[in-house]
Symmetry: C2
Subunit: 312 residues, 2 copies
């Protein structure tokens, strides 16, 4: 057991999943949770993935050895500022946000001496949100990236990184350490831009005049529906991601658009060879992802068709 008492600040998908896995694998003596919404607090206690709940973030963090910030990225800075005076010397503060440089910038200045900020990002999630969406296996076999803050080379800091690494490994994850800026670039292409274009095409499809929305829904099995899963992700979380990783997202989006223009031109000028070459190359990437255990090899993700819901 690396941490006796864990504080979960925010009880959505990641917070609740952490609560479940900590209990299931007995990774702490007690888990205390904070959520802004009364309904979420009540539900979290009812489900039982935390032992105590509070509406006061400082009180939640106060006695904890590990504080995990599981709120949308946009409010992490404010919460850190709020809880900072209550933090116990020797405690480790981490987060699960999808951007890292902004978190470091917004949080590090508030950190008291003797408390260790080790930002983190478990590469795991689903399109669902809220305290009911969590499950203990969420982190199983997924990568978790830790981004130690610059100039934190002390032995005690390294110990904090090791303790947090051991914690995530106990949750089932594999852990990598990376520079925050590089993390933001990697995630811009593997996560942020994919989400942006998924949101975008679903929006485009909804706004057409010549194709009805009902048609888009009926015939979505032809490719579109895969995008709608991603485009059903939490709006607040994703708004904050884009606002807080602006430079890397715009850089990667620029590359995407440039490549898309080339494809557009290939279609316009009947350049079948260019299309065929790209479509062949992309198959190999898929194979590598399946081989790396990051996706299932089952066709169609192993989905089976489901009958339409009866109108009640």
């Amino acid at each position: 057991m690396n941490f006796e008492r864990v504080a979960l600040i925010g009880l959505g998908l990641i917070g609740s999943s952490l609560g479940h896995v900590i209990h299931q694998k007995k990774l702490a003596k007690s888990v205390v949770g904070y959520a802004r919404s009364k309904a979420t607090r009540a539900r979290a206690l009812e489900i039982g993935f935390i032992d105590e709940v509070t509406a006061d973030a400082s009180a939640c963090a106060k006695e904890a050895d590990l504080i995990v910030l599981c709120t949308p990225v946009g409010i992490i800075g404010d919460i850190v500022k709020e809880i900072a005076p209550s933090l116990k010397p020797g405690s480790v503060v981490t987060d699960v946000g999808s951007v890292k440089s902004a978190i470091v910038e917004q949080s590090l200045p508030h950190m008291p001496d003797g408390v260790f900020l080790v930002p983190g990002h478990p590469i795991a999630g689903t399109e669902q949100s809220g305290p009911d969406s969590g499950f203990a296996e969420l982190f199983e076999n997924r990568w978790c990236i830790l981004t130690p803050v610059p100039d934190a080379q002390s032995e005690e800091y390294q110990t904090a990184v090791s303790r947090l690494t051991a914690f995530w490994e106990a949750c089932g994850s594999r852990v990598d350490v990376m520079d925050p800026k590089h993390h933001d670039l990697v995630l811009a292409i593997t996560s942020h831009v994919p989400h942006l274009i998924a949101y975008n095409i679903v929006g485009t499809a909804a706004d057409l005049e010549r194709v009805a929305q009902a048609e888009v829904i009926k015939y979505s099995a032809s490719g579109f529906r895969d995008f709608t899963r991603i485009a059903a992700s939490d709006p607040t979380m994703w708004r904050d991601v884009f606002l807080n990783n602006k430079d890397a997202v715009l850089e990667m989006l620029g590359r995407f658009v440039e490549d898309l223009s080339a494809l557009q031109r290939a279609i316009r000028w009947d350049d079948g060879e260019a299309l065929f070459d790209l479509f062949t190359r992309t198959r190999q990437i898929r194979r590598s992802i399946v081989e790396a255990g990051q996706d299932t090899a089952e066709p169609d993700f192993g989905r089976h068709s489901t009958p339409p819901k009866e109108k009640s």
Copy 2:
């Protein structure tokens, strides 16, 4: 039984799935298959989803009551021209291609009198291809769109449409009838542009200098991997789709890019409200697709994490 003898021209994902479902539900007395490749022909017989196989498309079509063209769109015109002289009066010729106007243009001029061309498109598939990829349940609860040819209002033609409708319904599908041009527009947004942007982002990610391909693969669970599934689809099939539905694809792609520019601008100018509004609207579309039975409601498509393949 609507058709005594069915000819499957092309034995890939759709052809093999049709063979399986026809046998399983006893929808024909015999199924004969054509494939260009010797290996595919041998494999099809071995799996047993056809009763006879031939390397001669005309011989395959000759005695059939229903001829289903299951080849890539790009060669359908040539095959129709080749088999046309052998077609039996009263037989129905259909196809399963993802574009319809080009099929009508390329095929209708070759049709002999008394043979009925009823183009079709089952909205079903996986990212897999070849004779091993088929399964009988592929069409279950999926839409199949028939696009009767213009000026084919005779009673006999309508009977051919009804027979083909009954056939697809027996395969498990729900059938819609649509104008070919409208089909191409609907599929451009629900299928062709989604595939294009999936291929595109996978290509972009593979070509980056500042992010290694190994990183893209490791951290793909953050969104990217969903796109790689679609971008693993058959290259020949998709090249032909884009070359044969150029106008509709370019129109829809234009809309997509226009909307993407607006999002890009919202990020650059910190317009969180615009982002939040879009991200909220898109959730509803997802719900409608799940309610319509066109996707599973299980988080993450019900995928479970899989351990990485051991290096051997």
